[in-house]
Symmetry: C2
Subunit: 394 residues, 2 copies
């Protein structure tokens, strides 16, 4: 039989990989100004320190680091995590455990594996993160958008939809959301924790941008209001140390955590021990907090430059004003189509992601997402003017 | 609602985690001689070289290594892999691609994700690898054992079962199988490749022990006989460089590979770039082949010591005589129960894995798996005598 006749699993029905993948391949072109990714800036990647740390941990504990480890985590990292995560995110470490994950991408997958049968409903922000929507669809979940605004999910609409759809999960990125950059308000955070307990729905609180705040007041996590164990916190070191190391974690009550451990046994057995050891040592040496402080100033300048440029663009109808994170979300004048304009922008050597891909039900063709962390202020000014040229000639 | 009332996904029905987990926790006890794991020996873990290599690759390419990478792989590793995998495993790299995976554990998961809907049949050796059986069950596959002997899967029984069950996958560990240590014969390898094409069934060829041959002649992979693209080869650097790094790969024709890439986007986005870079550099410096040669002699001695001891054990009715790998599989006299005897063995500070856990349909309570790579010859002699004491007093 010809292998082209092979039938794949039903979970791939309707999943073709990203529509914008072909265009993204052009982004490696020299001179391209890309606002399309979600990459940290080069300056934010501590390569020199990590070269020393990698050698040091391998010299000190190499035989254990290169050997098989426990799915539950490399002990020095677990210790560092528990000491860090509890106070930093307001998580009660008496009632919750942590599990190192291979990026928070894996944390999401483990949770989907633990909870989702085909057809189960997940309530999500509208718009929400593209990558995790694809993960949810691979678990054959039905995604139902909850009305969202500048303060995140509308909790009245959320409660209505909990009653109507009996969801298995509520997925939220509460802080400097991807793609909008918006932050869930304090009262809504409390309300979501309360609704989770009242209706018995797991909340996946995906909070990778938490520490990238440039202005305003830090808000407590949803998890910090969780008394009953219905909130699972997904954390990541991708935005504050390095995405290439693929180290994240999941904090949850013991029953859910145990299912995630079993799912992880079949996923990658354990997260690389060197990766865990390097993050542990980076934290243990007290490098994390000063490193975060050192990157905030640059990111804030880049964001403000981009916001200034947006304010002067005649084709831009509106845009979000985030207090942190990596993204700004903008709308073009009605009738302009960000997907159709993308190839023209790329021709001019500037790129973004069309907003429609972040909407569970599509539409919103005039929206687009901009990332400001990967480009210098100079590149941002130049890139935004190229965008204005592109849009105004449409 | 109390979180104890949370209903998990159906894929966890009947999956309770390993029955022997509680006993395994005792294995960290000082003085324990463990034949239970599948760990490389400490001497086989190149910690000193890796400390240098980690620092070198981070100094040379640290900004790229710490940044996000492509799901398809870190370019220098892909290059090294293609050059290595093609000639080493007899894989046609014109017709096949490779994908770095976070251990071959993940390779298996990606393939299950690509192919298996609940209720689909996977034909497996009898016995077969515990860990991947659990992965298959988490994908709600139905596991059907194929009659197996000292030369692996009986291909007549395999063909009968293909006709009867219309499986979506055939899973085999052809070389120094886990748990038996047995190797699939040459004619059977050819036959499996032919059956896969004839009936349109994907073969997952899981070959992590391939290079650990102590005696006899190397056999070509099943994949080397695959003209039509039905065989997927799962490789790993866990047994020849380091399991803690979690680096494996998958070689497959483009259509299957593409689905695995999409599944990997939602699994961990990409394998750690430092992990890929270190393996690439280890290969590039020509360290891999001499390293493998350097560990074979010790492993061969350890295996032969264990085989000698087994030959003198009155309670052991039979055992396999592998030509390589990490495991020997043995049977006690009828009536002796290896699961019931395990706590008594652990009391005497020696451990193994009861064989019943490797049989898809259970039973075979008198069998057990022994690992010889993690213990010195001296420990093996002592441990085997403790086992004989345990078994003979039962």
């Amino acid at each position: 039989m010809n292998v082209n006749e092979l039938r794949f699993a039903k979970r791939f029905d309707g999943i073709t990989g990203s529509a914008i993948r072909e265009i993204f391949k052009l982004l490696a072109r020299p001179g391209m100004i890309s606002f399309a990714g979600g990459n940290p800036s080069e300056a934010a990647l501590p390569d020199e320190e990590m070269a020393w740390i990698a050698a040091d941990v391998l010299k000190k504990d190499g035989k254990r680091i290169l050997q098989y480890g426990a799915t539950e985590g490399y002990p020095p990292f677990l210790e560092a995590l528990k000491a860090y995560v509890g106070p930093h995110f307001g998580i009660d470490m008496e009632k919750n455990g942590v599990l190192p994950t291979t990026g928070s991408t894996q944390g999401m997958q483990l949770l989907l594996s633990a909870l989702i049968d085909p057809g189960d409903v997940i309530l999500v922000e509208d718009p929400t993160f593209l990558g995790n929507m694809q993960s949810m669809r691979l678990y054959q979940a039905k995604l139902v958008p909850v009305k969202s605004d500048d303060e995140g999910m509308d909790t009245d609409d959320l409660e209505r939809k909990i009653r109507e759809y009996h969801p298995r999960m509520i997925y939220t990125i509460p802080t400097f959301q991807n793609p909008t950059g918006c932050t869930l308000g304090l009262e809504r955070r409390k309300k979501i924790a309360a609704l989770a307990e009242e209706y018995g729905v797991v909340v996946a609180e995906d909070d990778p941008y938490h520490d990238l705040r440039y202005t305003g007041q830090e808000l407590p996590t949803i998890k910090s209001f969780d008394k009953a164990g219905w909130v699972v916190f997904l954390g990541s070191f991708s935005k504050v140390i390095s995405p290439g190391l693929r180290v994240g974690f999941l904090a949850a009550e013991p029953g859910i955590l145990r299912k995630c451990v079993i799912a992880k046994q079949g996923s990658d057995l354990h997260t690389g021990l060197l990766n865990q050891a390097m993050c542990a040592e980076y934290i243990r040496r007290g490098l994390l907090e000063p490193h975060i402080r050192s990157i905030l100033k640059g990111y804030a300048d880049q964001m403000n430059t981009m916001l200034d440029e947006l304010a002067h663009m005649k084709t831009v109808a509106s845009f979000t004003r985030p207090e942190g994170g990596l993204f700004i979300f903008a709308s073009l004048d009605e009738g302009l189509n960000a997907t159709k304009l993308l190839p023209k922008a790329v021709e001019r050597c500037v790129a973004y992601v069309p907003g429609t891909h972040f909407y569970p039900e599509g539409g919103h063709e005039n929206t687009f997402r901009l990332n400001f962390s990967k480009s210098t202020s100079e590149e941002i000014r130049r890139g935004m003017r190229l965008l204005e040229e592109t849009f105004s000639r449409a």
